[in-house]
Symmetry: C2
Subunit: 424 residues, 2 copies
Amino acid sequence: MAWKNTKDLELRERAQKVIPGGMYGHQSTVLLPDGYPQFFARAEGTRLWDADGNSYIDYMCAYGPNLFGYGHAEIDDAAIAQLRRGDAMTGPSPLIVELAEAFVRMVTHADWAIFCKNGTDATTMALTIARAHTGKRKVLTATGAYHGAAPWCTPRPAGTVAEDRAHLVHFTYNDIASLEAAVKSVGEDLAAIFAAPFKHDAFQDQQLPTREYANRVREICDKTGALLVVDDVRAGLRLARDCSWSLVDVKPDLSTWGKAIANGHPISALLGSEKARAAAQAIYVTGSYWFAAAAMAAAVKTLEFVRESDYLEHTETMGRRLREGLQQQAAAHGFTLRQTGPAQMPQILFDDDPDFRKGFAWTQAALKRGVYLHPWHNMFICAALTEGHVSETLAATDAAFETVKKRLPTLKPHPVVAQLFSGH
Amino acid sequence: MAWKNTKDLELRERAQKVIPGGMYGHQSTVLLPDGYPQFFARAEGTRLWDADGNSYIDYMCAYGPNLFGYGHAEIDDAAIAQLRRGDAMTGPSPLIVELAEAFVRMVTHADWAIFCKNGTDATTMALTIARAHTGKRKVLTATGAYHGAAPWCTPRPAGTVAEDRAHLVHFTYNDIASLEAAVKSVGEDLAAIFAAPFKHDAFQDQQLPTREYANRVREICDKTGALLVVDDVRAGLRLARDCSWSLVDVKPDLSTWGKAIANGHPISALLGSEKARAAAQAIYVTGSYWFAAAAMAAAVKTLEFVRESDYLEHTETMGRRLREGLQQQAAAHGFTLRQTGPAQMPQILFDDDPDFRKGFAWTQAALKRGVYLHPWHNMFICAALTEGHVSETLAATDAAFETVKKRLPTLKPHPVVAQLFSGH
């Protein structure tokens, strides 16, 4: 069946009328190559179908939530059974206790949990708890690290006021001198250091933390009394069956979770150590659906699969297989790829591609061949991805490299991306 | 079956270990009478079952989300069917357009919609859009009005910094002189006025807006260019099949929605007028699950029932019947009740009860007789409540009045509430 996008275009026209800009947030296609579908009708395992019926092997996993495959029968069955018994009620169900216990058993640093709905809820709670715990105000985050979309952290400051970021100070990820300079600049007023589990900023190569850097962050927090927060919303459960910084043997005081923890069902979490419990109890945070039980049933079941399956090893193996195949293909076509970060959360950028025109052309060509890749955001590999899918993917990407090579002289940068990198 | 709470107590003990303070947020029972269950196992229609199997006619409706009855078959079926097709995917489903269109058709002032997960997401977006639209900073809210639990609005300031509220200014609800003084105090810097649809503050009598007050808010916004925001998260769809201020013929520029709009499925919304569209497009807001389709399917179905059923008239009738019955019972037992606000969102306080000891004793006695009332928060009546339920409720409350009368000389205030009102 030939690729088509008639229905997607019709839906976009309708959306332009009733949704600002036609779509908002990270799932808007405004920064993606032409032809990327805005709307999806169906998802199963590792496959997506757009509104026109085109199907794709999906490497975005809903930007993270899909860990065990879309529509995972046992996880969804657990959610549905609980929905039929009771979801949003006048109080939480016993599942909140069961889920908190399961999470705290799995995450070494954690003694307690608070559940919420957005990753941003969890990071904002972490900020608030750190300030309540220390009585101090300054919060350090790595330049360019994404910690959510509330006024204090949104990457686009329209509509925010200077006060929203009054006490935020930035440093360079993995750069101890920069970290120490930032710490020094805040004097006695340090409340928290936010650590991305690894550097997974958009449009950039990914970077794993060095042990020296991670240890230094911990030492500074121990010395000053500030809380160390690992923001594991995006990477949590994808690198380890524990907090991602367990890989560098550093325990945070707080960690934030979301996305994969219920395989797509809407729930996020803040986990904390004993030290931060009193402050967590002192703040007031809540939300209309934070106590709803169906997503908690899905999370309990997801954590079971995390503990009892080889999903982690499998996604890493599949990620490596894809990475090696792409590296060979790129070389064969005369391109150099920069494939960075954990294999199961691949970031794939073209060398010598400052305005991303090669990456856009390549992902666009792969899309038309049934493979949904992202030209500038890290991707995700779910446990439903098989060797067969990887082979299918590599057949598409091989043709896509060929297309880019042919089109190279006439490629132009995406207008919105060009504007983004022109300093305007 | 005798009322018991063995399992609830066991769960509380386990929760104490893994959840700060045993529970957080608005569904914690810390400010409720002794014996109120913390955990619920099941919900159906207008009935709740706690973890011990005690059943209650529920007048809290999950603090708002339950509009058509818990476990409403057609609404839940719509959500489940969509969950099986695809929920959180790499892009939204066509349902986001359908839902936005349905909402915009129903809400007179609205031309566009953004969907999110918490009421606080919607109110924070409204604040941000107003600032982006006006280029100004000051935001007026009524003293004591609840607009969410982010640092800028949470009722308990632990862990927040002065800057979080730097540009918030308060006035007295329904008091035009107070409103005008607040407006004057901010000079040329007014970005928005937040209006509660009616005054529904905890621990207080409810108050409907006067037409003069609502009109004056609109006039001030028109004159200054500030945006008028009606925060309809709690009351939306319960007073009208439109924004609640349609009842006073005033159109806001932005309105915030949540709770009842998907009968408990997790989705909230910001609706806006044409004037605010460009600003809404300029800000960056998003969340991991904001585009998930299952809750949107539930919302589409809920709005259908809103348009096509007599739920609104029915809940009002049931609310009036309850109100009249209680008024007679109170008088017969020598008490005076203050029953305020819309009948379908009743606030029931005892006269001459400054520390709420009578209200606590009365709701506690009703609880033991199978009726879940709230001693200081407005309640909610759902469409599944029947005349039979009201009669059953009145039988329980009659006995509860009798109990309070007997216990009156020995009643003591709830220790946490006493502390709250002692100025500590």
